[in-house]
């Protein structure tokens, strides 16, 4: 079986000009609805305050720790009687109720450095505490699965996210249309550059060849949708991810970021907006995917949780455990998942160093379950250096 890249290369050679033969496009379009599993990772940069997003309303210490900025008793949207959604996440509630959204709470990294950059790296490189690892866990997945095609792994943004950094080909684009050539004479310009670089040889030759191939592929993607997305760059990114998945061009991994969660001051002024932006975009995205939601898992993560107690500035400082949200047709949702079904608790003696929610689920256990049970990776041994995935520790996302 040829990879799509090889097909394109062969086509380019025989045509002399790098244009995807219409027959190939038709062949792809004629395929039945996609069956490849897709993982969409969303990184909430800045350390989202999950104690105020997925509220442990059943823990009385929550209200003692958050007298001014906590979600008021009864204001939360109840999930399971103990936890409740922040009202600004209301658009996620139907997905929870229909069993397609799960929360993994008290989840975090054993490194516990409370440093944004360290913990973002540790999570995205899948190697807590090890600064020598500079390739992403998702890129190592691509390598292990033998996937090496730029359109298989796409970051919606200017730079590939760190979790996709590495040997396997991947693509970073601000939007679907950003690879279009400006100006006219596009066919002639592509052909001219392709011929020049082919003759010159070297690594840029394959860059040029791939660039035009990717462009041709993305040109076949219809970015329009009947679903109404909220405004904003994050929402725009998810709209493009949905279009890429629906077009079935072979996307396996897509990544997007939503920043603005570092709320040291006046959290109540800032959190509602970003929370609503997150929930609104996810709701629209899941709706837009339609039947393709069945083969898709969205995993929402952040580098660490915030301090259990509010600070004097009506904000929260850097903490340890946060949570993750998983959304998708295959997700066994409607549940807040906890390691051994135990909430670590917010009583002073239960907090890590007396101040932070204890991370009882290692984020790598979540990633491992997604890799094994959603993406179908058989051998996980090369993905997390110094860590042995163990099904008995999986949070149970697909159970």
């Amino acid at each position: 079986m040829w990879s799509r890249r090889e097909l394109l290369r062969a086509a380019a050679t025989s045509f002399g000009v790098l244009i995807v033969p219409p027959a190939l496009l038709r062949a792809r379009a004629a395929r039945a609805a996609g069956t490849d599993p897709v993982l969409v990772t969303i990184f909430l940069r800045g350390a989202a305050d999950f104690l105020n997003l997925i509220v442990p309303a059943g823990d009385p210490h929550y209200y003692a720790l958050r007298p001014r900025i906590g979600v008021a008793p009864g204001a939360e949207l109840s999930l399971d009687g103990f936890f409740g959604l922040n009202p600004n996440l209301s658009r996620l509630l139907p997905w929870y109720q229909s069993g397609q959204l799960a929360v993994i709470h008290a989840c975090g990294s054993p490194s516990r450095t409370r440093s944004h950059f360290d913990e973002q790296d540790f999570m995205e490189f899948g190697a807590p505490g090890d600064k020598t690892i500079r390739t992403g866990w998702l890129n190592r997945y691509l390598v292990a699965a033998g996937i090496d095609d730029p359109t298989s792994a796409i970051t919606l943004g200017h730079h590939a996210v760190s979790s996709l950094t590495g040997e396997a080909a991947n693509l970073a684009i601000p939007s679907i249309t950003s690879l279009a050539l400006a100006g006219g004479y596009t066919t002639q310009r592509r052909a001219t550059l392709d011929q020049i670089y082919r003759a010159a040889g070297g690594p840029l030759a394959s860059t040029v060849e791939n660039a035009f191939a990717v462009h041709e592929t993305l040109q076949a993607v219809d970015p329009s949708t009947s679903v109404s997305y909220p405004s904003g760059s994050f929402s725009n990114a998810l709209r493009d991810v949905a279009a890429l998945i629906k077009a079935d061009i072979g996307v396996r991994i897509a990544a997007a970021d939503l920043g603005g969660w570092d709320h040291h001051y006046n959290e109540l002024e800032a959190l509602p907006g970003v929370a609503a932006a997150l929930a609104g975009a996810l709701d629209a995205f899941a709706t837009d995917l339609g039947t393709d939601l069945g083969r898709t898992t969205v995993l929402v993560m952040t580098e660490f949780g915030r301090r259990a107690g509010e600070n004097p500035n009506r904000g929260t400082d850097h903490g340890v455990a946060g949570a993750m949200i998983a959304l998708g047709g295959g997700v066994g949702g409607g549940r807040v998942l906890l390691r051994n079904a135990v909430w670590p608790g917010l009583a002073p003696a239960q907090l890590y160093q007396g101040v932070d929610l204890e991370p009882t689920t290692d984020f790598r256990d979540v990633f491992s379950e997604v890799l094994a049970r959603h993406l179908g990776l058989g051998n996980l041994s090369s993905i997390f250096p110094g860590f042995s995935p163990d099904a008995s520790r999986y949070p149970g996302l697909y159970a």
Partner: protein, 525 residues
Amino acid sequence: MTSCLSDRAVDIHAATLGPRRPLIWGRSTLPMQHRARSLLLLLVGLLVLGASCDPRPQEEHVLNRIGYGPDAWSRARIRTLGVRGYIEEQLQPETLDDSALEERIATLFPLTTWALPYVRSIYNEYRTDVNVSQVRREMSWARMLRNVQSKRQLEQVLVDFWHNHFNVDARTDVGRWGVVTYEREAIRPFVLGRFRDMLGAVAAHPSMLDYLDNAQNFIAGYRRGTTTFGPNENYARELLELHTVGVDAGYTLQDIQEIARAFTGWTIDYYYPNGTYNYFQSKFVYEDAGHDKGAKTIMGSLHIPAGGGREEGEAVLDFLAQHPATARRVAFKLAQRFVTEEPPAALVDAAAAEFLATDGDLRAVTRTILLSVQFLTPQYVRSKVRRPQHFVAGLGRVLGVTDDRLFAESAARESAAMGEEIYAAAPPTGYPERSDAWTGEGPFLSRVNLAWRASYGQYGFGPRVSATGTTPSAIVSELGARLVHGGLGPISISRLSDFSAQTSAGSRAPETAALILVCPESLVH
């Protein structure tokens, strides 16, 4: 001396094999047979073409490697002074007058001239007229304008090189306001000065103290405000691994911990001496009460007796700045930047020896590399991929700039879109020097599009490219000479002439220019 002999060598190498036929990419080297053949052809060529001596390929190499490519001034200057004279002048940037440019930058981007406490006051939102993120934006715009318009091209390249060596991500808390003085006061004054001075200025700058956490490095149990601190090894680790001796220098975890102890108490003035919070925090302070007074031994040879203070950190910096492994690492990185990504051992040895002989005089070390025989070796010509910042600046230099502000803003944005956002490399390693890090598909198409817009005079470039010639081949030849100082290769000339013939007469010049500017001859240096 870079005589006409070596000028000929480049030219004849080019003439016999086709100007850019032996593109040497990344790490690849010519096979031995090919090299022997090159040498033979070169010698034959010397005999045949003894009289002609086209200096342009060598000039192009120098202008591309120690600057951001040729512009009208530098072309004329290198022709007047010769290659060696031009290099020597660039090594003395204080002799080159940039005052008009600096005045323009101060007017266009005033935040870049502010002193630190005032910048810090923005961060605390005491000023509502500017946003804190504007600080880094104006800095990156000023960087782009200097890259294009400064006569001190080598200094600009070195500022980027050393900022990258001592990388601080200016999107972090302190980095956001510290970026202004980090470059101006800790990096730029020393890029052709003493390594030890730069090392010391960086170590005590709030940006670095925050970025690598030394501001939180205290003896265990030390209380500041309401927080209890302990030792933090982050700075000590990167000081060894990245700033000085390098990861293979044979140090241990204990050495890292000992160095971290020596730097305990090096912090930022978060609080006034009376204990109240300082909203204008902007400078290094040493807090003796947070310093670990115990004795320390570092790498088996630096012994620090008990009872010391701030001078212990200085002693560590002295020790590391004189270490042969530091000399070698600095020499290697500079050779990698200026000569080739796998620099020959003889060159690294010579530059490292110069470093040790001159007590880390970076002007002497840089001169050793730039005047070495290896620097002008034809094999290394056009062997590196231009990084985005370099590519964007190069366009500005050959096409010109008609609107300083629009150009600077566009250039910073486009460089970021290609993966090199100025002052925003997240890891302490900075951006990679290696060519293979800069060959992504998306960034390539961004280059194609930017070259097209720039050729039409958009984004502050310009004016729109025009030509006096009218036939396709005349236009390719004319624009090739104007836009690529060392000239286009025969394949590019042939294909571009075909392309040019397919365009309408009215848009022929800008369309052709847009492709010339993304041919291999323009994307490498």
